[in-house]
């Protein structure tokens, strides 16, 4: 299975490193400067291109989309799909990860295949998914479930396999059956790792949502807003769409980290 350092590295991406030291305002300097530069460039016409839209325009477009409800419709459609896929993928991933972790024979048989499967970009499966499931929501949910499945399986399995040996010995001394050991020792010890997996699954399925909308084009969604903007040369729509995607991703991250801190207090860190 994937070595743990790799997943810690993955986590580092989604649980952002925080700057050390105080004076948090320093983080705002760069973005504000960039926006100011951008605004100047569009105002003074430094770059002559139909694509250079001013920040004000992006804000206006944003306000318009919020006002006429299009943004909420798109967001609702995307989020609904994402949460469905996330739910299915996580559930399946927990089962598969538990099997891989608890049953060494199964791990030997299925582990390498799963590892290889992980290496293939999920997007490569899109043509097959679209032939088997069509272009509608079912196909997208299938795709998102796969995206959520992978991190859950990897982290669940790793979490289970890294149960502290001491705990296992105690279980053995007390004569726990395999079932008891699994449910009362291994799984609780693996909860922080499992949570990491679920956390990553949420992020990944959001990232995959945009991709799915891009490649399985039909219906509504935030990704479709981006495509529309790209096709009609509406840079402001594209930029606003990107901002929305980034914000939603950041919000999910923040919520998940909050939960993680709560859980860490209860169950301890991995």
């Amino acid at each position: 299975m994937a070595s743990i350092p790799l997943d810690a590295a993955e986590l580092a991406i989604s649980a952002p490193l925080r700057p050390r030291g105080g004076r948090r305002w320093r983080g705002l300097v760069l973005p504000l400067a960039a926006v100011a530069l951008w605004w100047l460039a569009s105002r003074l016409g430094w770059v002559n291109s139909a694509l250079l839209v001013s920040p004000i325009q992006v804000l206006d477009t944003g306000r318009e989309l919020v006002g006429n409800g299009r943004l909420w419709l798109a967001l609702r459609a995307s989020l609904a799909r994402e949460l469905t896929g996330f739910g299915i993928g996580t559930a399946a991933g927990l089962v598969l990860g538990a099997l891989l972790g608890l049953w060494p024979r199964f791990n030997r048989l299925a582990g390498p295949s799963f590892n290889t499967f992980k290496q293939i970009s999920l997007f490569a499966w899109i043509p097959l998914i679209s032939v088997w499931f069509g272009l509608g929501d079912v196909a997208k949910v299938v795709f998102l479930s796969l995206a959520a499945l992978v991190p859950v399986v990897v982290n669940t399995c790793d979490g289970i396999r890294s149960t502290p040996p001491a705990l296992l010995e105690v279980a053995r001394v007390y004569g726990y059956t395999r079932w008891q050991t699994a449910t009362e020792v291994v799984l609780p010890a693996a909860i922080p790792a499992i949570f990491t997996g679920v956390y990553l699954a949420l992020i990944y399925s959001w990232l995959a949502t945009i991709g799915a909308e891009y490649l399985l084009v039909s219906g509504r969604g935030v990704g479709n807003l981006l495509i529309e903007g790209s096709e009609h040369f509406q840079m402001d729509l594209v930029l606003f769409g990107m901002a929305v995607i980034g914000t939603v991703g950041w919000l999910m991250n923040a919520c998940a980290r909050l939960l993680e801190r709560r859980l860490a207090r209860r169950f301890g860190r991995p």
Binding site: L51, F133, G134, L135, G136, F233
Partner: protein, 366 residues
């Protein structure tokens, strides 16, 4: 079994048996919804498309009106991925009818999709090559080694290859990028591609001064045009022949209306509801009679074109084996419609070369 079945088991089994026995009966009952897939992203609100009498059916809601008394709903699905995407939908039975171009229909059939072609719904569509306004590409020969957008798998793909071949080039001699209509426009305007193969959607861009047309199949050998027709899934046709007939009737009625020169302005206005302006339609149909383009007849020209598409596709390895065209067209419905509506002599049948058959208007050959 050693034990007699418990009462519960018996009840379940008999219920299952009953359900299974009435299943087939139920299947031949009318469908609750008829789904039509259109191989175009379309546009407008509600989404529609132009260039085919089908667009008229959509905008005027003739199918909805026809099936309302029977309580059958109509669902229109538009596919940005055009013909290839429609094939995907057909392969998992998400649509019952499809409006598609000739090449994707052939590709679908070659790959085992069981369909029947019913009526032609947009013949002799043209193909154009466009470049950015400042480009120094003058003709097809200048396309060598250039980055060109081609929408693979659509009927334009094959015509593009034939056009290139007529100028001594092959698809390999270009850097061909697969882009759908919308993306191709974005790419060309931002100089991402040097040229693009496409259809009537480019007139709007040209009229905005953002592209120029350097090649057109208009006025050339009709072999360089592409056809589109309405097809139905074989299963659906077997189960609901009555509904299929009614759909065909509506399409023939629309074809009749769309072939009347008196309706030209109104027709273009209806098609303009999809987002492609009237001026583009006027350019596309320049010097052409509506009847020639909107005729539903499956005549020698159409059959010859489809056979040629199969031949070329095999040769170019777009499909792996020949597919028979005979027996694919099921013109019983078309014949019945023409008879019912008294339109047997309305349209000219064309011979294999696209010329009117000797003897003036005649009934569809097959």
């Amino acid at each position: 079994m050693s034990k007699p079945l418990s009462p519960l088991r018996r009840a379940t089994l008999s219920a299952a048996a009953l359900a299974l026995s009435i299943g087939p009966l139920y299947a031949t009952a009318a469908p609750q919804v008829i789904r039509i897939g259109v191989a175009s992203a379309g546009g407008g609100e509600p989404v529609t498309w132009g260039g085919s009498p089908g667009g008229v059916v959509r905008v005027n809601e003739w199918l909805e009106q026809e099936f309302k008394p029977s309580g059958i709903q109509i669902e229109w699905l538009f596919f940005k991925g055009a013909g290839p995407a429609v094939n995907e939908a057909l392969s998992n039975k998400q649509i019952d009818f499809a409006y598609q171009g000739d090449l994707p229909q052939v590709v679908g059939r070659a790959n085992g999709l069981k369909t029947k072609l019913l009526v032609v719904s947009g013949a002799r569509n043209n193909l154009y090559v466009v470049t950015p306004p400042q480009s120094d590409i003058r003709g097809i020969k200048d396309l060598k080694d250039k980055r060109v957008s081609i929408f693979r798998g659509t009927n334009g793909h094959l015509v593009a290859i034939n056009v290139l071949a007529a100028n001594g080039l092959a698809e390999r001699d270009l850097k061909a990028v697969n882009l759908d209509a919308g993306s191709a426009q974005a790419a060309l305007v931002s100089n991402g591609v040097d040229a693009a193969f496409g259809g009537y959607e480019w007139f709007k861009v040209r009229d905005q001064g953002l592209a120029k047309v350097i090649y057109s199949t208009q006025g050339q050998d009709p072999a360089y045009t592409r056809q589109a027709s309405l097809l139905v899934r074989e299963d659906f046709e077997k189960e609901h022949p009555a509904e299929v007939q009614r759909v065909v009737d509506v399409f023939v009625r629309a074809a009749d209306w769309s072939s009347d020169e008196k309706n030209r302005a109104e027709l273009f206005r209806i098609w303009a509801r999809s987002g492609t302006p009237v001026a583009s339609w006027e350019a596309e149909f320049d010097k052409q009679s509506l009847a020639e383009r909107n005729s539903p007849l499956v005549d020698d020209f159409i059959i010859a074109r489809y056979k040629a598409v199969v031949r070329d596709a095999v040769q170019l390895k777009l499909i792996r084996r020949e597919v028979p065209v005979d027996g694919w067209f099921d013109t019983r419905y078309l014949q019945a419609s023409l008879k019912k509506l008294g339109l047997e002599k309305r349209w000219t049948a064309y011979d294999a070369k696209g010329q009117p058959k000797a003897g003036g208007p005649a009934i569809a050959a097959r």
